[in-house]
Amino acid sequence: MKNVILYLNQFFGGVGGEDKADQEPYIVEGAIGPGLAFNAALKDAQITHTVVCGDNFMGSNTDEAVRRIMEMLKDKPMDFFIAGPAFQAGRYTVACGNICKAVMEQLGVPAVTSMNEETPGVNMFKKDMIIFKGGNSAAKMRKDVGTICKYVNKVLAGEPTGGADAEGYFPRGIRHELFLEDKRENTAAYRGVQMLIKKMNKLPYQTELVIPKKDVVPIAPAVKDLSKAVIAMLNTGGIVPVDNPDRIQSASATRWGRYDISKMDRLAKGEFKTIHAGFDPAAANEDPNVIMPIDAMRAYEKEGKIGRLHPWFYTTVGTGTTEAEASRMAKEIIPFLQEDHVDAVIMIST
């Protein structure tokens, strides 16, 4: 008999509703609440313990909650860890993601969870773990528990699993090969020709390699009269005041900053530096203008080549930064540019 430990929030753990969301984590022996449905669906395995924690406590004291739960779990025999199902409860989905991640990383035990696709937990954690596609309310409890257990039973029995689509979890960006039954209809030759026939006849078919959509931004039209244009300077090269006041990360940035240059003709060495971790910083620290050329832009301003320079420059770090984060940061920066009627920006990458 294999040992499975379950994580539930205060509601499914039977403590209470929103007024009990500050519940500190605790562990009990055996199955409670949804654990009974799990026990019915698990083969040669049972819920030996259940961890319960309030969503607020987990949300506002994540590190502390995770630390305490790891302490509770570390001596318990555990072959598998399951969190949820969390359905469409936003904070609960994030809690499930955080606790599964910690169990896998710190205890080396496989962990899965289940949540609805409309929740924040999916995007935050789907690359890190198996998250089953869950229903939008507890009415789907039996179905979601069944989906989880079908997979967990296979893993515990050492049987092969069928991948994201077949098992019903969100794709993690992990592609592996799968052997199909050895028959003509499954050969690449047959699959290819039949796919072509479907494509010819405008019938639905499923490509075996989905090419991710690129978010291509069209090239902006040329500025009509540069001598009247307001120009702003942005960079992903990590040029910041030496104390990095916005605590922009050196890689995989989620933060950005803007810095006043209204009284500067150039960026002075010793006042600005780069915090970018992806290249040798020596040249940029010696002269920050090699990345953020305020000196050249001021010269153009004096010559009348451009109307004027926007009084701030904007910085983040590009290395390892996701497209999604970059796009969010751009949306946060754009209102400042619009407010000053900026006509064009120069985006400097490194």
């Binding site: 090969e177 799968l178 047959y190 020709v193 090419i211």
Partner: protein, 442 residues
């Protein structure tokens, strides 16, 4: 063109006094065959012939080539420009031994493009060859100039294998085949009117041609594919010995000569020909490395397709990595010309499955078949019998094997067990169409 292939189904291969085929048993006079092959090429210094059967607890390595034993009834050589004088391929009568293959094996030395075949156990599923009786031609040569090179032309053994396939095929010459396959490819401009309503479909083949130095690439009528520009050929030519495989490219992504002779995707197009589509032939391209050569080939494929009136295409490549650029470019240029495409190839997603599957991607690729992942790890126990030399996996730079890894150790372990990448299964991703593998999100 009309190609007839008279098939003989081989149930077993044995050695005996005289060459014969009776009741499914192919008997070979081993010494006579060895004497013939060594007599044809003084560079072969020793040779053995060993039979490996489906289910045997046998590992074959390094595998250089596989070929189906066949002969031409008109006396023409089996591989024009390779095993004999140039002559047209594509129509006429052939005889073929089915269910078996000549498997060319390095007795001691392997190279980058050579692979592994397991006849039994868990490893058998990794190649199509485990379903066939492998008539292994295991040899040594005096090709000292490439002895310690990672890239070898393996000329003496490869040419020996092609001769051996024909030598064996001739055993069937005067016998009545059990069954005859026919492939009819009518002149494209003189097709029957009832085909007019069917969409015109062509297949673009991109055989291996990446080596700038001659002698390693696939050959068309004996001509190196690196010094070639795309042309229009009949699918029956491909099935009739126009192409031979080369010695370059990680093994699992190769098309062996056997695969050209039996190209599954071409056969599936024939199966639909005249029913759901009008098969208008093969646009034979290549996979050169320089960007202008890639673009030139893509342009010529596009224009041949447009001028032939091709409505839809299948594109397939013998390789991965750098050749993906040709594979993707060719599909994009055809889609842009209004010719929708299905692509067939393998992927390289890394051992963790997280890498970009092709070296370049394009959103216009909306219909792709995936035949495997070169990066999967295989770890398998020792086999009772090894044909060839396991140590070649550690020593000779075979793709997907290694002599040292600080975590995994060496590929061929002292106890005979192996650990290697999918890359090293001989033609293991069977991009030609035999593959029953796909790729999924795990």
């Amino acid at each position: 063109m009309k190609l007839s292939i008279g098939n003989f189904y081989v149930k077993d291969v044995v050695f005996g006094e005289a060459d014969s085929f009776k009741d499914g048993i192919l008997t070979i006079n081993k010494q006579a065959a060895i004497d013939y092959l060594m007599g044809e090429d003084e560079h072969i210094t020793s040779l053995d012939i060993v039979i490996a059967r489906p289910g045997d607890d046998t590992r074959i390595v390094p595998v250089i080539e596989t070929i189906e034993p066949r002969c031409r009834m008109d006396g023409r050589t089996l591989f024009p420009g390779v095993t004999g004088d140039l002559a047209p391929c594509g129509d006429g009568e052939l005889k073929a031994f089915k269910g078996c293959c000549v498997t060319v094996v390095g007795g001691t030395w392997g190279s980058f493009g050579d692979g592994v075949i397991d006849m039994g156990g868990e490893g058998a599923k990794h190649t199509y060859w485990s379903k066939l009786i492998n008539i292994c031609m295991v040899g040594e040569t005096d090709e000292e100039d490439e002895r310690h090179e990672q890239q070898k032309t393996n000329h003496a053994l490869r040419w020996g294998g092609h001769r051996f396939a024909e030598y064996l095929g001739k055993i069937a010459k005067d016998l009545e085949p059990e069954e005859t396959e026919e492939y009819v490819f009518d002149p494209v401009l003189k097709r029957s009117p009832e085909r007019a309503g069917l969409p015109n479909v062509a297949i673009v083949l991109q055989p291996q041609s990446q080596m700038e130095t001659l002698g390693y690439n696939d050959l068309i009528y004996g001509w190196d594919m690196n010094r070639y520009i795309p042309s229009f050929v009949s699918p029956t030519e491909v099935l009739d010995g126009m192409m031979i495989s080369g010695s370059f490219m990680p093994a699992s992504s190769k098309w062996s000569t056997y695969e050209f002779q039996n190209f599954p995707t071409i056969k599936e197009l024939f199966a639909e020909d005249g029913k759901s589509l009008n098969f208008v032939g093969v646009i034979m391209s290549n996979l050169n490395v320089a960007l202008d050569q890639k673009e030139r080939s893509a342009i010529m494929v596009r224009n041949i397709a447009l001028n032939l009136g091709v409505d839809y295409c299948i594109v397939t490549e013998e390789g991965y990595g750098n050749p993906d650029a040709d594979y993707v470019r060719c599909q994009v240029i055809l889609e842009d010309a209004g010719i929708p495409v299905v692509g067939i190839s393998n992927e390289c997603t890394g051992r963790d499955g997280k890498s970009q599957p092709l070296v370049t991607l394009d959103e216009k690729l909306v219909a792709l078949v995936s035949s495997g992942n070169v990066s999967e790890l295989s770890e398998l126990p020792a086999c009772k019998t090894v044909i060839g030399c396991l140590e070649a996996m550690n020593r000779d730079g075979m793709s997907g094997s290694w002599g040292y890894d600080e975590i995994l150790g060496k590929s061929a372990r002292d106890d005979g067990s192996i650990i290697m990448e999918d890359n090293n299964w001989f033609c293991g991703d069977h991009i030609s169409g035999f593959s029953v593998k796909t790729m999924v999100e795990m």
